[in-house]
């Protein structure tokens, strides 16, 4: 990574003007790319050049560019967020590639994530899963005392691990079945592990799984691709935990409908 040295790349990028139009791959040469750029900065440079030529820049999602918001995400050479483990596309640097490389860039592919434009997909399905049960009901008066509710250390640690999910959708994108079970299980678990999340625990898992199914995601066959792609290293064991919770909630709530009841 010697300073001043640049790379010449060739990009194959999925271009699609809108959700209803046909898309196709377009090849762009990307000369003079600094290895110190992030992947998104590389796309910025390519876009600047496209704009200078009067062409439509490549649309992609991004916000924080520091790996914490979950907005960025694209398939880079067949891997969600690219080749580095535990790394979002915005935190991926061009030094992860070689001079002369060809890079294929595609949007997340899933029925539940329709393409909006180019590399941008609509991930509102995730928000609807959260809205179905990813909350706790709480008293909103004055601030409670710190540590008023004891939380066991192991539960706090596990809940924290699950809460690291930034909802980027890489799990769905990497899953051969386009299943959202890693995402849903992280969201079910991070509240379900804590004492504050117990009141709604059964309804939460039943409703979130029902919404996940309605949104048209696939089902888990335990390939483990999601875990490998996750920039936050959410573990497959959360899916087992969600299955466990779902079975228990189903048995305990016989006769009740998953949709009724609620938080009143």
């Amino acid at each position: 990574m010697s300073a001043g040295k640049t790379m010449n790349l060739t990009l194959h990028v999925w271009r699609q003007p809108s959700g209803t139009s046909q898309g196709r791959f377009v090849t762009y040469p990307a000369p003079d790319i600094s290895p110190d750029m992030s992947f998104l900065e590389m796309l910025d440079v390519v876009n600047e050049r496209l704009i200078a030529k009067g062409e439509d820049p490549i649309a992609f999602d991004h916000d924080c560019r520091e790996g914490i918001c979950g907005m960025c995400g694209m398939m880079i050479n067949g891997q969600a967020h690219g080749p580095r483990r535990a790394t979002t596309a915005c935190q991926l640097h061009m030094r992860s590639f070689e001079d002369g490389d060809t890079i294929t860039i595609e949007p997340w592919r899933a029925t539940a994530f329709p393409v909006v434009k180019d590399l941008v997909v609509d991930r509102n399905a995730f928000d609807r899963i959260i809205a179905a049960g990813g909350f706790v009901s709480t008293h909103t008066g004055s601030a409670p005392d710190g540590n008023a509710i004891p939380v066991p250390k192991t539960a706090a640690d596990q809940a924290m691990d699950a809460a690291a999910c930034i909802g980027c959708g890489a799990c769905v994108a990497a899953c051969p079945n386009a299943s959202a079970m890693l995402f849903t299980s992280a969201k079910v678990s991070h509240l379900g592990l804590l004492p504050q999340g117990q009141a709604e625990r059964d309804q939460r898992v039943l409703k979130m799984v029902a919404t996940m199914d309605e949104e048209g995601f696939g089902t888990c066959t335990n390939h483990g691709e999601c875990e490998a792609a996750c920039p936050k290293e959410i573990r497959l064991e959360f899916i087992a935990r969600m299955n466990r919770d779902f079975i228990r909630a189903g048995l305990r709530n016989r006769g009740e409908r998953a949709g009724s009841g609620g938080t009143g």
Binding site: H12, F25, M75, N77, G78, Q79, T104, E106, R109, A110, T111, A112, A174, P176, N177, A178, S179, M181, V209, A210, M212, D213, G216, F217, G218, T219, C220, T221, N222, H223, G224, E225, E227, A228, A229, R235, L236, E237, I239, A240, R241, M242, N243, R244, D245, F246, I247, G250, N253, R254, G255, E256, R257, A258
Partner: protein
């Protein structure tokens, strides 16, 4: 009962049907393989075992077992079909490039190993249970049917291929099943894959040995 239907038709419910029926089938293949090991203990034992099985519970046990196995097989194939359809609908348009990181040959070929095993099961029933595709089937002469059946080389070859594919299916299936029913703990997760590999290897090696033993003349 409505809640149960709704529960079982959810994604996780369907997976449970597959896992539980898989466990029943898995229990059967293990016991079936162990039962057949008696072929190494002399030419009469397998015949006597057959007589004993048919007489068990005044002749009812065999039919109960067959009923349970048929139900499990139907449930397993039905849930596999439903889940496969769901998964195909979830991504109708694939990627131009795709690199696998964690999935295994076994996990990616479950559908195909499953279909071959299904065809094999039907053939196997016609071969050794009903006898229609056996060159010289004699009802009750289990040992002799076994030896005569496996002397046909392409039949033995098909048995061995199906056995290897069943091994792959079990290797992924056993650990997948544990995950589906929610048996997971960080301390034991490594053990789950090892246990799955050991079970799969046991069943595969046992079943592989039968046609090989006949072809090499160890069992005659």
């Amino acid at each position: 009962m409505n809640w149960a239907l709704r529960f079982l038709r959810s994604s996780i419910g369907l997976k449970l049907v597959m896992a539980v029926s898989g466990v029943v089938l898995f229990g059967f293949v293990l016991v079936h393989m162990i039962g057949n090991l008696q072929v190494y203990m002399g030419p009469t034992l397998l015949d006597e075992y057959g007589v004993w099985l048919r007489a068990l519970g005044h002749g009812a046990a065999l039919w109960v077992a067959r009923g349970v196995l048929l139900a499990a097989a139907v449930a397993h194939v039905w849930s596999a079909y439903c889940l496969t359809r769901l998964n195909q609908k979830a991504r109708p348009e694939g990627y131009r490039e795709r690199m696998n990181r964690e999935s295994t040959l076994a996990s990616r070929t479950m559908r195909w190993s499953g279909v071959v095993v299904l065809v094999f099961i039907i053939y196997h029933l016609l071969h050794f249970t009903i006898g229609t595709v056996h060159p010289n089937f004699v009802h009750g002469a289990v040992h002799q049917n076994f030896v005569v059946g496996f002397r046909v080389i392409w039949v033995s070859a098909f048995y061995m291929i199906a056995t290897l594919l069943l091994g792959l299916h079990l290797y992924h299936g056993v650990w997948s099943m544990l995950q589906t029913v929610g048996l997971s703990h960080p301390r034991y997760d490594l053990m789950r894959k090892r246990a799955a590999a050991a079970f799969a290897a046991l069943v595969t090696l046992g079943n592989l040995s039968f046609p090989l033993a006949v072809l090499t003349g160890v069992v005659r």
